[in-house]
Symmetry: C2
Amino acid sequence: MSNVPAAFATTLHIRDNCLCLQAQRAARALSRRFDEAFRPYGITSGQFSLMNGLNRPEPPTIGAVASLLAMDRSTVTANLKPLERAGLVTIAVDAEDRRGRRVGLTVAGRDLLARATPVWISEHAAIEAELPADADALRAGLRAVA
Amino acid sequence: MSNVPAAFATTLHIRDNCLCLQAQRAARALSRRFDEAFRPYGITSGQFSLMNGLNRPEPPTIGAVASLLAMDRSTVTANLKPLERAGLVTIAVDAEDRRGRRVGLTVAGRDLLARATPVWISEHAAIEAELPADADALRAGLRAVA
DNA sequence: GACAGATAGTTTGATATCAACGTAATTGAA
DNA sequence: TTCAATTACGTTGATATCAAACTATCTGTC
């Protein structure tokens, strides 16, 4: 007789198979790693991804950025605040549709992104090199669930 | 002539290939989905994972939980607060080592976990069914990066 | 037994995340 | 042209996340 509840096998199954948990774990571990790599530049991995998403010919709207990052629009709004305060991004009302906002990088933002990009390249190459399996397959799987 | 910066190709490459970004996207999408499924039970996907991790014969320490979830110890401390306030978990000084804390489920916590588990089973089955590729391969990749 | 170093958690401060609600602007139909 | 429905964002409140600094406890060495 054991004092383990009847559903303990289920608990172990969830612990080992839950894609949500595994994705959270992977996301946290990768974030910490890139956060550390970007620390000398004063940005986090999320801020790098956000700024990279803004680096395009036409400044995107908040909604477009939210879609790109698969996050809530209100989260994008919140995440832009420290970047705007730091003078890295600009937010302007869209002249075509005054409900919308166009978000772009400032010169300082573009410069910081350019300086941080080599860090991403080397760190990401290191991670891919450590992967036992094919990184493309992992990417495809992640894209499928997102 | 275009006004696109020289590194624009790199920007697109990062956008499409960054495992950190892809993992964040997947984690956010999966979280939202399970958050929605668990909403009738008053818990989030993260709280479900945490409580599931506590459902074992010997109540684990904070550090063990942090390791299981691949999160910082201080995050575990923070995440336990709303659960403790809701009467779902208990935190007690470890008699063997008074630096440590043993975290366990209350009767109410165990009951809620039992009621929410069928939701996880059906929701997770639905997600796996939607996956074009092998879920085991995705799990293996996620485990490798975490 | 005393004490330096290591270990386990907590607290603090900043950012991240979402849902729900509210506001402003656009669109489409009558 | 009106005006109801839709769309785009912002705000609020709660939780999540981490690093850094702190406290308490334990361990090994002398």
